[in-house]
Symmetry: C2
Subunit: 196 residues, 2 copies
DNA sequence: GTTCTTCCATACTGATTGGTATGGTTGTTT
DNA sequence: AAACAACCATACCAATCAGTATGGAAGAAC
């Protein structure tokens, strides 16, 4: 029985992301994605030519989601210092607590090693995030709330720390999330020249 | 023609590591490993029951290699501050410049997500590295060469930064390694309470 | 030199999985 | 209503690859 659905394309991307983030990209096949969207492989391959296309669509979803979450998080905050702090705290939580985020990004990294398109896609997002944070630090600096000398440098250091936190959370056997969360937060705020 | 070789077991592990680090674990199959060691799959499977066993053997090789390299690097240095600085510089170089290291560890992380044994193996190594660095910081602190309050905390932050550097180096399209290397080094030495 | 264990080579299998071939159904255009 | 494009379902293929079956060669033990 054929059932034509509006927005099947984005529904497939959503399913793909959910499955990728749950099982890892390598452990998800095209049949699983189709089944999860209540359709078949024929339909899936009509919307996306290759698995890689599906992966890139899932990436776009991830980027948009980050943007929306962050905007939502900072929407009500006006003070530059508070905005910076909240953004950092949200990012740490995002890296450490949200296992879907960890699993997905790790899978993407593994592919990016050998695929220029995926690498380029992710690099674009990474640049965007960097500029976003540099702006936050700059604003806090203009308000005299941080003594960071070089916004770009401290943000770069913070971002690699974020990435590292994801990896570490994966391998740490038992991990007191809330305690570590606080420690990492304080460490990073020192780096940002903005201690409590 | 059958040719019995001494130490075929470790030669296979060596081949496995080299191939994993070059092509990524997922892109290397058992035939490739055997061929690279100039033997056949029959022999490979006599020494290692499963691919996972080969992977774990490659990990052990990696651990030993880290240990030896680090010892060699610090062998001639006596001053605690210099030892710490050299260890940090070596680690950054190791993460940023050595692509084999990046590729291999990234692959391992991807597997560790879904395999307890690999996760446990890697976590053990990670703990070892952490203790190693904490000791270095502690010694520098005892010598009054750093004002780091909590050695464990700064080392943790540094280690996640190392992991993050690996990931970032992967996706950065064009990357001025030497310039970044210096920036990261200085940032980390500040974190360690030991600026130049 | 026979026996036994260790070690290696060849050929094969079974399962997985991206991707395709093909034909049907829905909705729109003329 | 006929033609056409957009969309979906079913069945299949071809390649890949971890792991096995089996037999043989090298070296040690006696």
């Amino acid at each position: 029985m054929t059932l034509i659905t509006k927005n099947m394309s984005s529904r497939l991307a959503r399913s793909a992301f959910d499955l990728f983030a749950l099982h890892g990209i390598n452990n998800v096949n095209m049949d699983m994605i189709a089944a999860h969207s209540n359709c078949t492989k024929g339909s899936l391959y009509w919307h996306y030519d290759t698995k890689k296309a599906v992966i890139l669509a899932a990436c776009e979803l991830y980027y948009r989601n980050w943007e929306e979450q962050m905007d939502h998080e900072l929407a009500s905050v006006k003070d530059p210092e508070k905005r910076l702090k909240k953004a950092v705290r949200y990012s740490i939580r995002h890296c450490m607590v949200d296992s879907k985020n960890r699993v997905f990004t790790l899978g993407i990294m593994g592919l990016a090693l050998y695929d220029e398109d995926i690498k380029k896609s992710w690099a674009g997002f990474y640049d965007h995030v960097r500029e976003y944070f540099i702006m936050l630090v700059q604003k806090a600096k203009d308000a005299g709330k941080t003594n960071a000398v070089d916004a770009r440098r401290v943000v770069d250091l913070m971002l690699v720390a974020f990435e590292g936190i994801k990896l570490r959370t994966i391998i740490e056997p038992d991990f007191d999330v809330s305690a570590e969360e606080k420690a990492v937060y304080e460490g990073l705020m020192e780096v940002l020249g903005c201690p409590n």
